[in-house]
């Protein structure tokens, strides 16, 4: 296996042993709720419609987060609960039926309707899974109907995708026990990344590779005891738990960020399918070389830069690992909404000593810590970024790390560039504020 470059080995002292125990915070969480994951899920599953059952706040969140993306009629909407529903004047289920009918008659091209629970629907104990079953009987010919909760009570940001995939796994058919072994890649990846991985797996001789979610809702993979699962993202806790019951635990690996992560991730799959080392090296060598070369361009800007992560997507530990190991940056605090010890084990092992891990958030106290640490770059959400910039800090807005293809060899350079850009930009501007 390929290791980090010699210079990095020196910079990275020997004590990268067990991960420190994180700071657990229960104050104000400045994070999105799981509904926001609909932003990329609806683009990924091209024949799905996401119907949030929630409040005006949910609808407002979606359009604020979507920004200018609403040029065409989007494949998501909100069924806004109003006072008639609360006072019992209207029956919530009847109202929902009417709205579903309107959506599906307006969009006959939709093959999967996803009912998405919200904070108010959870508090009102509106059972959307039951509603989905009832509605599916009615629309069986036309489309599949499933439900998940993107409520902020249970999920942050990317965890909405976890809940969606978990609901999708429930409707995946059971594969026969004697079916040939297959690889199931779990987690929404940009199409271009998915295609790159598919080509690599094929070259490695792994014949049957399936991705979930697929681009079309009709192509749900069969899942059985011969299915080997690999997670593309670290935030798929619930989905992994469900899959474990049907086909065993996910293959442990780093996540496919950067040269190191991508190689380790592919290696885990290759080992599970008995791919020999020579073949693995031959197939991955060009990608590894390209990834190293691409990241190299940004190493000069990023090396030694002290980086502070505010919690956002649960990708933070692996982003820090990549920046530290491949670009020579120094993470000082890694905030994450939740850190799954088992799914993150390999990642945490590679973080430098002395880094502060924080889980959950108390945003005011974290801002205090951040100012005291005086980092070179702050990775944070858009609610915090401009105020930090106005104080003179460089920031990288974290939501872009979720919307941009960053996984795999060919995107390693792009990933480094995302962090380098704010620093380059500051260097390029001469007019003082």
């Amino acid at each position: 296996m390929i290791g980090p470059s010699p210079t990095l080995l020196q910079a990275d002292d020997a004590g990268t042993s067990c991960a420190p125990s994180p700071l657990r915070e229960r104050g104000q969480h400045e994070v999105f709720c799981g509904l926001t994951s609909i932003m990329w899920l609806h683009r990924k599953v091209q024949d799905a419609f996401f119907l949030i059952v929630g409040s005006r706040t949910c609808a407002h969140l979606m359009q604020s987060a979507a920004g200018v993306m609403i040029f065409a009629e989007p494949r998501f909407a909100t069924a806004i609960i109003d006072d008639r529903d609360l006072s019992g004047l209207a029956d919530l289920h009847d109202e929902l039926d009417t709205i579903v009918e309107r959506v599906l008659s307006r969009r006959p091209d939709i093959r999967m309707l996803v009912l998405v629970g919200s904070c108010p629907s959870e508090v009102l104990r509106l059972d959307l899974s039951q509603a989905a079953r009832r509605l599916e009987n009615r629309y069986a010919e036309q489309c599949r109907i499933i439900a998940f909760s993107g409520s902020g009570l249970e999920t942050t940001f990317t965890e909405g995708e976890d809940q969606f995939l978990s609901a999708l796994v429930d409707v995946c058919p059971q594969a026969a026990p004697d079916e040939a072994p297959s690889l199931l890649v779990v987690g929404a990846l940009a199409d271009v990344v998915e295609d790159q991985f598919a080509r690599i797996f094929q070259a490695l001789g792994i014949e049957d590779v399936r991705f979930i979610p697929a681009r079309r809702s009709g192509s749900l993979p069969g899942i059985g005891t011969n299915t080997r699962v690999i997670l593309a993202h670290p935030y798929l806790t619930e989905t992994a738990r469900k899959l474990e019951r049907r086909c065993g635990p996910a293959l442990p690996a780093l996540y496919p960020l950067g040269e190191e992560g991508t190689t380790a991730w592919l290696r885990a799959a290759a080992d599970a399918f008995g791919v020999d080392d020579a073949r693995f090296d031959a197939v991955t060598a060009p990608g590894r070389a390209r990834a190293e070369k691409a990241v190299d361009q940004y190493r000069e800007i990023l090396a030694g830069k002290r980086i502070f992560f505010f919690p956002d997507s649960r990708l933070e530990p692996m982003l820090a690992r990549f920046l530290h190991r491949e670009a020579g940056a120094e993470p000082i605090e890694i905030g994450s909404p939740f850190i799954h010890r088992q799914h993150m084990a390999d990642e945490l092992e590679r973080l430098p000593d002395g880094v502060v891990l924080s889980e959950g958030q108390d945003v005011e106290r974290q801002i205090d810590r951040c100012r005291a640490a005086d980092p070179d770059l702050i990775v944070c959400g858009l609610g915090l970024a401009n105020p930090f910039e106005a104080e003179g800090y460089a920031t990288k807005w974290s939501i872009e790390l979720v919307f941009t293809p960053i996984q795999g060899y060919e995107q390693a350079g792009d990933l480094a560039e995302l962090f380098a850009r704010p620093l380059r930009r500051r260097a390029a501007l001469s007019a003082e504020v």
Binding site: Q28, A59, P387
Partner: protein, 522 residues
């Protein structure tokens, strides 16, 4: 339950945040689940605010439910007061917390804070953003201006006023305020307090000192202005100074209340709208059909300017603000159009398509709709978008506002004219699509096609219609139709087909085309 793909207004707590974020010394503690903090980025990204809005959220989660959400609220409230040291704290609940019935007002009172606590009761399942802003501002004004009630207050002078309504995330409020201050300065009228934008609690306490109130944005400040009138007898200037006529009327109204001479302000006017609109090139604007939709204040003002100052024809008028539906209905009657009171953008889209306007004045959503329908559009109203906070000075109110209106509403039409010229020359012997543009002579043929791309793309199909007429077009008639300018071609096609349909004509000839033209007039 109501289906929404897009909302013109956020929930009422957003309105409360806008008021809190407009002021200093005010902090808003909102009982809300994790995720509701998205609202911060409206301020930091749309308005590019350099500080976080003064809002603390409890961000409770499922594990807190039924256990200690109330305690969580009290801790958040106490910490926020300790940390930010506001002069007053607003407390309230977002939609989810409203269902929990934790009573933030009572919980905050029980903390025995040494600053005033104003509980906000903003029914999330019934009301919306502007109502929330108005209610919050009203509560603040009552709390602080009400303290001097009954006492024999001495007015600083009759020629002193308050400006009420400018708010964070308001549509062009920042620049409107500068323009209004200029007018008042020219009149010699003192500005006592501007609120909520830039005011603190102590300023609200001084509101009764002014001779009268200028109500710039009724959506935010009407209830407060009405209360001040009842309590302190302060008259309200209600003319919204958008357009030349309204600005002049505004100046006279203010001058009369202040007992000053309006002439200095009227003579200082620097507007060019009234001349530009008389310039011969503006003949082109005559009778342009314009569809107007927005908040009530801006929609009503836009209709008046469109008809009386630009010579347009108002072919549609509507608002998403139900609270002001009556005003818009009254205005619509004056223009002889059916008022559209709706917050469903699909309904608005249908109404625009049916009205077949040549210009749309609306919100960002109508901009998208107009783009789809290939109609020029200018944005005149909130909901706020990052484009509505330009770096340059760009008011809608006052005399400079009239200049901005002329440029902003007429330029999209001139671009329409350019497209029309391109369309006219599309099949011209000299300028057809396959001929290289004269300034691109050095470019290879491949590059030429690419260079022509955008224009070609913008023009074709402008007249294509999904008309399901039974009549078919003869080749000659089809060719003749192509000679008609593209922006009226669709109408000509539909009128001709309707004419043919009504008369049972099977094949449309050149004769039918011109018969129909004569029948329907312009």
């Amino acid at each position: 339950m109501k289906l929404a793909v897009w909302t013109y207004e956020g929930p009422p707590q957003i309105g409360a945040m806008r008021v809190a974020a407009s002021m200093h010394g005010v902090h808003y503690v909102v009982h809300a689940p994790q995720g509701d903090t998205y609202a911060d980025l409206l301020f930091t990204m749309i308005e590019r605010r350099t500080s976080r809005p003064p809002v603390t959220y409890t961000t409770f989660q499922a594990r807190d439910l039924g256990r200690d959400t109330a305690e969580k609220f009290q801790a958040a409230c106490r910490d926020a007061v300790d940390r930010f040291k506001p002069e007053v704290v607003l407390v309230g609940a977002s939609c989810t917390a409203e269902l929990l019935q934790d009573d933030p007002g009572g919980l905050a009172k029980a903390l025995d804070l040494d600053i005033p606590v104003i509980p906000l009761d903003l029914p999330s399942y019934q009301r919306k953003e502007n109502w929330g802003a108005a209610e919050t501002f009203y509560r603040l004004v009552r709390a602080f201006a009400g303290r001097g009630r009954g006492a024999d207050r001495e007015r600083s002078s009759a020629a002193s006023c308050n400006i009420l309504g400018p708010t964070s995330l308001g549509f062009r409020h920042r620049d409107d305020l500068v323009e209004i201050r200029k007018l008042l300065e020219a009149l010699g009228v003192t500005v006592n307090v501007v609120a909520p934008l830039g005011a603190g609690p102590a300023d609200l306490a001084r509101l009764p000192d002014a001779g009268f109130n200028i109500l710039l944005y009724p959506e935010v400040a009407e209830s407060a202005a009405e209360w001040l009138k009842r309590e302190f007898g302060q008259e309200i200037v209600r003319t919204v100074p958008i357009g030349v006529g309204a600005t002049r009327a505004f100046v006279r109204e203010v001058a009369a209340l202040a007992g000053v001479d309006p002439l200095p302000a009227l003579q200082s006017e620097t507007q060019r709208l009234s001349w530009h609109t008389r310039s011969v090139d503006s003949n082109y604007l005559t009778g342009k059909r314009v569809f107007i939709f927005g908040d009530a204040t801006h929609a009503i003002a836009a209709a008046r300017v469109a008809r009386d100052e630009l010579g347009f024809e108002v072919c549609g008028l509507g608002t998403y603000a139900r609270e002001f539906a009556r005003d818009v209905r009254t205005a619509a009657r004056e223009y002889g159009v059916e008022p559209l009171i709706a917050d469903d953008h699909l309904e608005v889209e249908d109404a625009i398509a049916a009205a077949r306007p040549e210009l749309v004045l609306g919100t960002q959503m109508e901009r998208h709709i107009a783009k789809r329908l290939r109609i020029p559009c200018a944005v005149i109203s909130a909901p706020a978008h990052v484009q509505d906070f330009p770096a340059r000075y760009s008011p809608l109110m006052g005399f400079e506002g009239a200049n901005v209106v002329f440029d902003g509403w007429v330029h999209p039409l001139l671009m329409g004219l350019e497209e029309h010229l391109l369309g006219m020359f599309r099949d011209d012997f000299e300028f057809h699509d396959d001929v290289q543009a004269s300034h691109l002579a050095a470019v290879s043929p491949a590059g030429r096609a690419a260079a022509a791309g955008p224009h070609v793309e913008a023009v074709p199909d402008a007249d294509a219609d999904d008309g399901d007429s039974a009549a078919t077009w003869s080749a000659e008639a089809e060719k003749e139709l192509k000679k008609i300018p593209f922006f009226v071609r669709g109408k000509a096609r539909r009128n001709t087909e309707r004419y043919a349909g009504e008369r049972g004509v099977d094949v449309i000839t050149i004769e039918t085309l011109y018969d129909a033209k004569a029948h329907f007039g312009r």
